[in-house]
C-alpha cells in the first residue's frame, strides 16, 4: 500500500534536474497545467458577455400562446426552441444565457467588494495587532456564528429584492475569509527584514501596507477569490430561488429555477436547464480553483 502513496505529488523533485524528463514527470507537468481548466470557465464567461448578442432575450416580453413548449419545439415563426419555452412563453435558451450574465455579474461584484473589505481589514489587523486586531477578528468570529446563508438571507430579506442588495448581503457575509487570509499573511511578513528596512527608512503605514504587505499576500488571495466564485454563485442563486434575489423583471438562474418549480411535473425543463448551467459553472470554477491551489502551494514550497 505504501508504495502507491505519491511522495512527490507536485513533481517538484522530478522537474528540478536538467536530464530528460521521465514519463511520470511529463504526466505530472500535464496535470499541473492551468489552461485546460480555464476553457470551461471561459465558455461561461464568453456566453455571459456575448451570448445576449447572439441569442436576444427580453425578460418582459411574453408569448402566452407558445408557453411550456418542450425542448426542440418548432415555434410559429419557424425558429426552434432548443431548450423549450417557460411558463410565459420565453425562450429558455435565451433565458439561461441572460441568467449567466446576471449571475456572473453578481458573483464577480460580490467577490471584488468582499475581497477589498476583507483584504483591507485583514492587513490592518495583522499589521497593527493589539486592540485593532482584536476588534476586527472578533467581528469576524461573530459573523461566523450565523450558520451558512442565514445572515445573508436576513440582510437580503430586510433590504428587499434587487441585484444591488444581493451583492451587499453576500459581500457583508463573505469578507471574513479574505480577512483571515490577509491577516495571517501580514503576520508572517511584517517582521521580515525588507519590511523593517522600509520602516527604518521612514515609510508610512499606508505605504508599508500597500507596497510591502499587500504584494506578499496577493497571489493566495487571488486563488481564494477564484475558489469563492463557485460558492458565491450558489449563494446568489439560493437567494433568488427564495425570492430574496433579483426582482421579477430580471432573470437569473435561481429565479428561473424557482419559477419552474410550479411546473415540475408538467414542464420539467424550466427548472432543469438553468440548474445544469449552474452546476456546470460551479464545477468548472472549482476545477480551476483546485489547479490554481496546487500550482500556488507548489510554487510556495519551492
Amino acid at each position: 500500500m505504501s508504495e502507491q502513496i505519491e511522495i512527490d505529488p507536485t513533481g517538484i523533485l522530478g522537474s528540478g534536474s536538467k536530464s530528460r524528463p521521465t514519463k511520470a514527470t511529463i504526466r505530472e507537468r500535464r496535470k499541473r497545467r492551468i489552461w485546460p481548466a480555464l476553457i470551461p470557465v471561459g465558455v461561461f464567461v464568453f456566453f455571459a458577455i456575448f451570448g445576449p448578442l447572439i441569442v436576444p432575450f427580453n425578460a418582459i416580453s411574453t408569448n402566452i400562446v407558445e408557453r411550456l413548449r418542450p425542448p426542440g419545439s418548432v415555434m410559429a415563426n419557424g425558429s426552434i426552441a432548443w431548450l423549450g419555452t417557460d411558463q410565459v412563453g420565453r425562450d429558455m435558451l435565451g433565458e439561461v444565457i441572460a441568467g449567466a450574465r446576471l449571475t456572473l455579474i453578481m458573483a464577480v461584484a460580490t467577490i471584488i467588494i468582499a475581497g477589498i473589505i476583507g483584504i483591507v481589514l485583514g492587513l490592518v489587523a495583522g499589521y497593527f495587532g493589539g486592540w485593532i486586531d482584536n476588534v476586527i477578528m472578533r467581528l469576524a468570529d461573530l459573523q461566523l456564528a450565523f450558520p451558512g446563508l442565514l445572515l445573508a438571507i436576513l440582510i437580503a430579506g430586510v433590504l428587499g429584492p434587487s441585484v444591488r442588495n444581493v451583492v451587499i448581503s453576500l459581500a457583508v457575509t463573505r469578507w471574513v475569509t479574505f480577512a483571515r487570509l490577509a491577516r495571517s499573511s501580514a503576520l508572517s511578513v511584517r517582521k521580515l527584514d525588507y519590511v523593517s528596512a522600509a520602516r527604518l527608512l521612514g515609510a508610512s503605514h499606508i505605504r508599508l501596507l500597500g507596497r510591502y504587505l499587500l504584494p506578499a499576500s496577493i497571489s493566495p488571495l487571488f486563488v481564494l477569490g477564484t475558489v469563492e466564485v463557485g460558492s458565491v454563485v450558489l449563494s446568489a442563486a439560493s437567494l433568488s430561488f427564495l425570492g430574496l434575489g433579483v426582482p421579477p423583471d430580471q432573470v437569473d438562474w435561481g429565479s428561473t429555477i424557482a419559477a419552474g418549480s410550479d411546473y415540475l411535473l408538467s414542464a420539467w425543463w424550466i427548472s432543469t436547464m438553468p440548474g445544469i448551467a449552474l452546476a456546470g459553472l460551479v464545477l468548472s470554477v472549482s476545477l480551476l480553483g483546485d489547479k490554481l491551489q496546487a500550482r500556488f502551494s507548489a510554487a510556495r514550497s519551492r
Binding site: P147, G148, L149, L154, V158, F241, S286
Partner: protein, 309 residues
C-alpha cells in the same frame, strides 16, 4: 480542564450576545421605520405615530437596544404580526421538524462519507479512488435546491415512488434528507480520504508496519482512528450548516420547519418571528461549536495537552 470549559462557555455567551446585537442592527435599524412597515402604505401619520409610541420606537436607540436585549434573553421577541401568538413559541413549535430533518441528513452523510472515503483511501490512485473523488467534487458543486427539484421530477413525478413534499410519514422525510445530505456528502468524503492518506505517511504507521502488523488492522485501528479526527470537528459544523440550508430545502419540499417559517416571515415582514428564528438557529450553532470544541479535547489528548500547556 474545568477552567478551559468555563472559558469556552463564557466566550460562547459573549458570541450569543453579539449575535443578538447584529440581529438588532439588521432588523431594527437598517430597514427604516418598522411602524410604517407594519401598517403599510395606506396608514395616516397619526396612526404611525401611535404605533411608534406603543412599540417604544420614540425612545432613544440605546434604550430600545437595552430593552431588546433584556427581552431577547428571556426568549421574548414579541407577538407575531402574521400568525398571532408568541413569536418564539411559533419557532419552537416548528423546531422538531427541522431537527428531525437535519439529524437524518447527518446520519446519511456520516454513514456514506465514511464508507466512500475509506474505500477511496484504501486504494489511492486507482480507478476506484478517482471515481469516488471525482464524484465527491461533482456532488459538492450541485446546487442543493436544484437537487431537491430534480429528485421531485424523477422520483415523485416520473416514478411515483415518494411524495414530493409534506410532512407526517417517514416517506416524506426521505427526499428532503437526501437533498440536505448531498453537498456535504462530497465534502466529508474528500475529507475522510485525504486525512486518512495523510496519516498513512506518519511515523507511527511505519513503526506498526515494521513490527509486522497486518495492513488491514493497521488501516482500521491506527490510520482511520486518527483520520476521522478532523471529521468530528467538521461534523458539528455540518449540522450547523444544515440549519442554514434548511431554509432552502424546507421551501422546496414544503417541510413545516423553522426554515420555511423564517422565509415566510421574512417575505411577510413578520420581524418578531424572523428575530426569534435567526436567534434559535445561531444559538444551536454556537452550542454545537462549543460541544465540538470540548469533545475534541476528549477524543484527542494531544489537543488537551497543547491547550493546558
Amino acid at each position: 480542564m474545568i477552567r478551559i470549559i468555563i472559558r469556552r462557555v463564557a466566550a460562547s455567551v459573549l458570541v450569543a450576545l453579539g449575535v443578538l446585537t447584529i440581529i438588532f442592527i439588521v432588523v431594527r435599524i437598517v430597514p427604516g421605520d418598522p411602524a410604517s412597515l407594519i401598517l403599510g402604505a395606506g396608514a395616516t401619520h397619526a396612526q404611525i405615530e401611535q404605533l411608534r409610541t406603543s412599540l417604544g420606537l420614540n425612545q432613544p436607540l440605546i434604550v430600545q437596544y437595552a430593552e431588546f436585549m433584556v427581552n431577547a434573553l428571556r426568549f421574548n421577541f414579541g407577538t407575531s404580526y402574521r400568525l398571532g401568538g408568541d413569536a418564539m413559541a411559533q419557532v419552537l413549535q416548528a423546531l422538531p421538524a427541522t431537527l428531525l430533518l437535519a439529524a437524518t441528513a447527518m446520519a446519511l452523510v456520516l454513514l456514506f462519507s465514511t464508507v466512500a472515503g475509506v474505500a477511496a483511501a484504501r486504494r489511492p490512485g486507482t480507478f476506484r479512488d478517482r471515481a469516488i473523488s471525482g464524484g465527491a467534487m461533482v456532488l459538492q458543486s450541485l446546487p442543493q435546491f436544484w437537487v431537491g427539484i430534480l429528485l421531485i421530477i424523477v422520483v415523485s413525478g416520473m416514478w411515483h415512488l415518494l411524495p414530493s413534499g409534506g410532512y407526517g410519514s417517514p416517506l416524506n422525510l426521505i427526499l428532503p434528507a437526501i437533498t440536505m445530505a448531498v453537498s456535504f456528502l462530497g465534502m466529508l468524503t474528500k475529507m475522510v480520504r485525504n486525512s486518512s492518506l495523510e496519516q498513512a505517511g506518519e511515523g507511527f504507521v511505519q513503526t506498526a508496519r515494521a513490527k509486522g502488523m497486518s495492513e488491514q488492522r493497521l488501516f482500521y485501528v491506527h490510520i482511520l482512528r486518527n483520520g476521522l479526527l478532523p471529521v468530528v470537528t467538521l461534523a458539528g459544523l455540518v449540522l450547523g450548516v444544515f440549519l442554514g440550508s434548511a431554509v432552502v430545502i424546507e421551501t422546496v419540499f414544503a417541510w413545516p420547519g423553522v426554515g420555511r417559517l423564517l422565509i415566510e416571515s421574512i417575505l411577510n415582514r413578520d420581524y418578531p418571528v424572523v428575530e426569534a428564528a435567526v436567534f434559535i438557529f445561531a444559538l444551536i450553532y454556537i452550542a454545537l461549536n462549543l460541544v465540538v470544541d470540548l469533545l475534541y479535547g476528549l477524543i484527542d489528548p494531544r489537543v488537551r495537552v497543547a491547550v493546558t500547556a
